[in-house]
């Protein structure tokens, strides 16, 4: 079974090809260039390197958010179009779970987060135990300060990990104190191969209706809802 995995949720872009649980190739880059330009050539490249044709693919796994709206749509559009046209299953995995999975062989709480501007984050809380991840708090869009108060209630050490640039370090130490541990560098970046390990046995999604998990309404909708609530 040849599995293609794709993540374009944030600035890093990662694609991988696995044969069952064996990695064949993984290609990750972290540049300011456009995923729309780079994704398709990157998939083309990794497939040629290991001599696999599109028709030889048997499953697609994509990180479907949260993250950058545009980035997510590029990855998800590519994944769903490919799965649909090749008539193979599509599996989606949380972009936050993907980052947390770098620490899957540790033990304890892992908070992965992406900066969502103006003091907000996209974040989720996972627990690593015996090579497995379980969700402790669901992925959400929340003010970092409020989130950290909730994490504090756990009273346990928490490993913080984020592939995005942010300015929350001081706030984390203020609220969580010494219980906060940081993972930076290589292990804070998404690696598409982890998508295969997380998603290979998961239930496929309905390809046509699949779209990213934005975890946030469109601004115009929020304003419209507010206005209409007032008018009632």
């Amino acid at each position: 079974m040849n599995i293609l995995a794709i993540d374009t949720s944030n600035r890093p872009m990662s694609v991988a090809l696995y044969h069952n649980e064996t990695p064949l190739i993984e290609h990750t880059l972290n540049s300011k260039r456009n995923h729309s330009v780079q994704l398709m050539p990157a998939i083309d490249y990794i497939m040629k390197e290991v001599n696999i044709q599109p028709k030889d693919l048997s499953k697609i796994i994509v990180a479907n958010g949260p993250g950058s709206y545009t980035g997510l749509r590029i990855g998800v559009t590519t994944a769903k179009t490919l799965a649909w046209t090749l008539n193979i299953p599509l599996v989606t995995v949380s972009s936050l779970e993907l980052v947390a999975a770098n620490l899957i062989y540790s033990s304890g709480l892992i908070c992965s987060f992406f900066d969502a501007r103006r003091g907000n984050v996209f974040t989720g809380l996972y627990r690593a135990q015996e090579g497995r991840l379980t969700e402790e708090l669901p992925d959400q869009n929340i003010a970092m300060e409020e989130w950290l108060d909730r994490l504090n209630d756990f009273g346990e050490p928490i490993t913080m990990v984020s592939p995005t640039e942010h300015t929350f370090s001081d706030m984390v130490y203020e609220i969580l104190g010494k219980r906060a541990k940081w993972v930076t560098g290589h292990l804070s970046f998404p690696q598409a191969g982890q998508l295969v390990l997380l998603g290979k046995d998961r239930e496929p999604v309905d390809i046509h209706t699949t779209s990213p998990q934005y975890h946030r309404l469109v601004e115009a909708e929020v304003k419209w809802l507010e206005k209409n609530a007032q008018n009632k």
Partner: protein, 336 residues
């Protein structure tokens, strides 16, 4: 000659569309999923919302286009997609879907200019006669484009401020009419009379450029004055007077340009070419000339993918292919 079959995709604004076109002239299918009702309550297209809906529709629409055309991907010769201009987030959905299909089936990929598409919509009805003049009028465009041969575009006039469709939307807003303004004002104008003398902007002599912001301001001022004097506002008469001004300028400049460049055919393209007053007035002005006037049927005027497939046919024959690094180009120019 073997007639190529092109699968075309268009997602530049608020329609998710796919079509199969044979030989650049024959429509095998033309599927359009419109988001009109979604954006209506916001009084205009919300780009992020448009992108979110495109991604939910894209594979469904392509699937339906292939089914209705009764062709498989193996029988398709090339994949065409609107690369620009348009809303970048919206364009990206079509561009990435098209690239994926081209990659998965090892087919040539063709990036098409949206306005070239609007012009080529006419070729699904009637063969082109060069030199050819196109009046392209839509929510985002008001342009006179001269073509001496296939795939060759020269802009000889364009708007210096608002597009014609934009002026319609702004006037509709001033009259408390729903979005989009074009069809509503066209309907109201039909019921009213030209009682206000709104300005016609001809610009300097010999110029084929347009300007509609002065007209829009005059209409808004007029409404304001009537309100202040507590006089009744006849929306129908204001609509009729506004529309008369827009149509006069569009038709006269188009006629002058057609004469000056000695064209054999005039094409009216873009969403505003659905306007009944414009259609009638163009027909009347060109009557008795030996210039053939082509205005596509309504379903080919508004955004669709069939027009993209028709324009792509020329690029296919000239081997003008894109590579897998094709990107959305929100500000793409038509002139090369």
């Amino acid at each position: 000659m073997d007639q190529e079959k092109i699968l075309a995709i268009e997602t530049s604004c608020d329609e998710t569309a796919a079509a199969v076109v044979e030989g650049g002239t024959t429509l095998l299918s033309n599927v359009v999923a419109t988001q009109m009702d979604i954006h209506q309550k916001f009084g205009g297209v919300v780009p992020e919302l448009a992108s979110r809906h495109h991604i939910e529709q894209i594979t469904l629409v392509i699937d339906q286009a292939l089914n209705e055309a009764e062709v498989t991907m193996e029988e398709i010769d090339a994949i065409a997609v609107t690369e620009g201009p348009g809303l970048v987030g919206a364009l990206l959905i079509g561009v990435n879907a098209a690239k994926t299909l081209a990659f998965a089936h090892q087919k040539p990929l063709i990036g098409v200019h949206h306005i070239a598409g609007h012009i080529y919509a006419n070729r699904l009805e009637q063969e082109f006669q060069f030199p050819l003049l196109s009046l392209v009028v839509s929510g985002g465009h008001t342009e006179l484009i001269l073509m001496k041969e296939h795939g060759d575009y020269e802009i000889i006039g364009e708007t210096r401020d608002d597009a014609a469709g934009e002026a319609y939307d702004k006037v509709a807003k001033a009259l408390d009419l729903p979005y989009p303004g074009g069809p509503v004002i066209d309907q109201l104008a039909h019921e009213g009379e030209e009682t206000y003398d709104f300005p016609r902007s001809w610009l300097e002599k010999g110029s084929f450029d347009f300007s509609f912001s002065g007209l829009k301001t005059a209409v808004v001022n007029q409404i304001h004055q009537l309100k202040q004097k507590n006089e009744p506002i006849s929306k129908a008469n204001i609509a009729a007077s506004f529309q008369a001004s827009v149509v006069d300028v569009l038709v006269e400049k188009t006629y002058q340009a057609a004469q000056q460049y000695g064209v054999k055919q005039l094409i009216v393209a873009g969403g505003v070419s659905a306007n009944r007053a414009l259609r009638r007035s163009i027909q009347e002005r060109f009557e008795g000339t030996n210039i053939a006037v082509s205005i596509p049927p309504l379903y080919l005027c508004t955004d669709n993918a069939a027009m993209i497939g028709a324009a792509a046919s020329i690029q296919y024959r000239n081997n003008q292919y894109a590579s897998l690094n094709l990107n959305a180009q929100p500000g793409l120019m038509i002139e090369r």
